[in-house]
Subunit: 176 residues, 8 copies
């Protein structure tokens, strides 16, 4: 998955079952043409591998880490304990507790070791946040973000097209 | 705190602010006369120390680990990732989320790496559970547990003494 | 279900509707070759049977009890009230309250009578915890657990194989 | 506490620390002049005593049981498992989970073994419900309940007296 | 639905969409051969009808009222405000809040006006509780309840039959 | 969608994916024959458009604004920050947190800037509330509301028709 | 409390213990010089009085009703069942469930009978919403609201005065 | 508060009542000697000012924005809607909902507009995250962070000093 250019963003997840959620982060990296790497690293089942990845990320050129996990989602926090790079945590929705388990496990980090939490299943925003972080010192990226924001706005405005037809359809569908 | 005999139970906590809660576990070890050790080990601020403790606990003679933590309480899970000893997690009540953060972070561990969660602030039960675990192969301890259970029952029964007086006092106090 | 050797682990559940969840505990016992017994025992509908099982478990050779239940999941606590063996509680997910009912009913035990709670539907970890407890005084089992932990780590690492292909598939699937 | 007349209502609680909440039930029994008995019976610490009480309540003349408990509040459910008398459960507020632990442990009983849950700390209503249950076949009590309901209504109406003065006081207090 | 004998139990629900849940209460009345009546009465859409039903229930011979409702489930409380009969509330599970809305709306009644809450969707237990209430002064019903309890126990014990086969099936099903 | 008459009610939603929920508000406007306009306006993706709509709503003749949004549902609050018109917020149910995210984001507005929250997915009631607001100074609408209320009551009463048949069907369906 | 002019806003609360919260609504009415009336009306303890108030409010000249209540806060919904006036519900914070009981009981109203929920303890916003509703057809009030909004903005901006001094104080206070 | 050097970090809060929480972010900026500015900006009471700040932050040299707010904490999201700078949100604990309102309002942002959420009251970590973001392209800061991390670890280790004495004190205090 990693490109020839050394990856700037590391996208990590606790299990390959998180991939359908986390792929939205990959998509953003592709769209912004930022080199990235993707790894399955379980904080609990592969603690050594997780530690090794986190402790060496900075010297391997990684600048931001995105970590997605569900349940007692320790992965982002464990990574943050081994690096001073910004770590972004994505709570992945499971079957129980309506997602509060992963959210609280990721967001309630103790003073001294921050993790940036996104929405439950918010992998897309995690990657956008990573791009924003890189853009702090990368004016080309910053320009791309402004364009992205304009496109977002346009897409949002465009959702008003054919609204009347959609409403009529829904009203008829309901009443028939 | 550790006795001359090598400790069989390790009592760990994320911060010394957890000590007023976790001391109840110490008390049980003292009451059952089981050698123990107490350490402050933050999973996030002292990841290396935590790893070292967990990875070497078994060969240092520790047989059960009790870990208390609040917020994104990763400590028990991180310890469990480095040992196959039974790990008991005590969620410590904080100011927000009514204790659900520490509880869910501790209890919702992924398949393969168990942590035994007790009640929020349940350090006493954590230690009793540790004693029960040791008692599986220690008939003297098993006997002590039976006596403890009898004492508990007696104490519960004894709470009926003077109940009428207490009720009268409460009724009068309320009505006056 | 019980083998010729007397069971060391008792796997109990409140209803046979819990079996699809609890079978994961059976699987671990089989994998570790530990004799076990499985019983449906409702704390509320069969209080006498539950009491009898719990009160006689120790003298019947059982060393750890795993109890799964949903809703007002009293089963683990009721069993713990009649034995000093370690009792592991598995909250079973129901339709309402996102699993918080069974979790809180199991984990919030009062001082003096511990229950070890696992994740919601965490029957596999319950059995692994039971194996860890038995392994405290059983070096063969302790060795098996180390091997299991290594296999887990390998399986976790192996999930990185073909990751690029899976990601490409997901990206294409999404964009087409 | 029990009167010379045999008690018709049993008021049970898991610990004497529940007494300040549960005394409101005693007060209602006194007000309606219904004989009652009060006992501390822990489902977990005194399982045998709890069972004995529940199993013999009916033949001892008790007609309704009120049981208050906090945390993993199994007491009402355990009592209900040993009797077919109506059992009313009062969730007692603890420090964690904002009272949801006791509420869910009491209310989420499985089909076949009902418990009637009241509000968190709702001991007064538990006793009024007990009186309503007895009044089903006791016209004198039914009359008393109608009078009680009228008094309630009058008290509620009377809270409008001096309301203007109280409001003026609060407004001045706030603005000064 | 009402039998020739005047109904002793009133089964009320806020909407006919609650019927698939509430029919379990009807089933119990049929099984215990207790005359009952079933009505759809919305506390909010048909306040007058609800009031009229509640205010006249007692003189119409009804002895216990069961009221099921979802969302802001005011129905049981509104009925309780117009009668001194025992009112049993059944929270009906909706799409949002995991059932906490109906549960809290029903159970958190203010002092003076009790409602007996059952489990979310607990219509069967609501009816059993109603039978228990009637049985306080009806020894034939009390005997029926004891038999019911024995049948429950037997059914629970019987769930152990063929357990080994079911487990084997589940294990094979999982591994194949 | 907007009629020839200038719209009196603005129905806004954060995304066109909210339309199947929000169409219930459109339906009420149609039924009460009140001119309205429907727009997709994201508080976050189209902040300028949202501001412009809110700031000019009053001078464009809009009298009440209904805003539906899910997740961190800022839309109603952002609109309320730019207008003194009544703003009604509809929390839209998402996949996580059982709807609590949108509900709390909408309802917990700070002092000074009110938003009127309805039920989760409560678009129909949002529009009825808007009609009630317009009816404060529109006696024709007030009359329509009284008629609507009578129809509601009648519909609720009519749900008792064929109830016996439905119950019999459900009982047979269950028992066969 | 009611002025000589007939009241336009009715401020209702379930108990006089809600007055310290609800007085903030009175304050806004005074500030905007809108005639109002204040009443304690319990939906459960004084159902008749509540019904009478609600059913006659419109013909008594009341145009908006604000109702505050805690726990199973049925008051706003019960009022809404007897009137087509806009009803604003204020959930009052109690000791248990962190305010979710009153919030969900008020906000989760069924289709057909709306209640406008404000924040927990949000009596000030309830009154501001009532003023906004009256302002729909009262240009003088609408102007007052615009001025209020400007004052709010100015007050918010003014909170930046002396901020440096406050921060220095807090920093010194913490470090000393 | 702003230094002579143009601020790189903007610390914003919804109300000056958030200052005791947010001052921890100021402290970190001071400790790392990073120029910053502090402002009270309410998203709802001062929407224009908030917009102006957010829209001009980047060209004013600000590189990261920290925004703290309680209740329906829209401030971070509203700022994020007007800038592509990284925005860090700090949920501030209020009296109700145990902090879930501000947390969910901040964290559950929709795709396209990220906010980085920290723990409830986590202002210190918000500032550390801001420093980490700046350190991505500032090797001096990156070095400072490594030193900070070492100090954290040392402080955590140092909490083991005198632990035995503290435990003895707590044990004696409890038993006397």
């Amino acid at each position: 998955m990693s490109k020839v250019r050394p990856p700037r963003i590391g996208i990590i997840m606790g299990s390959d079952s998180d991939l359908p959620v986390m792929v939205a982060a990959v998509k953003i990296c592709e769209d912004f043409n930022i080199p990235y790497t993707v790894k399955v690293l379980s904080a609990h089942r592969n603690a050594e591998g997780t530690k090794r990845f986190a402790a060496s990320a900075q010297k391997n050129g990684i600048q931001v880490i995105i970590a997605g996990a569900g349940g007692a989602a320790h992965l982002p926090g464990v990574i943050a304990s081994y690096t001073t790079l910004p770590v972004i945590g994505v709570p992945v929705l499971g079957k129980a507790t309506a997602g509060l388990d992963a959210l609280l496990s990721i967001v309630q980090m103790p003073p001294g070791v921050p993790v940036a939490a996104t929405a439950i299943n918010g992998a897309k925003n995690a990657a956008l946040l990573a791009v924003q972080i890189l853009a702090v010192s990368d004016t080309a990226l910053a320009r791309q973000l402004l364009e992205y924001k304009k496109r977002l706005q346009k897409q949002s405005r465009d959702k008003n097209r054919n609204l009347a037809a959609k409403i009529t359809h829904l009203l008829n569908h309901e009443t028939t």
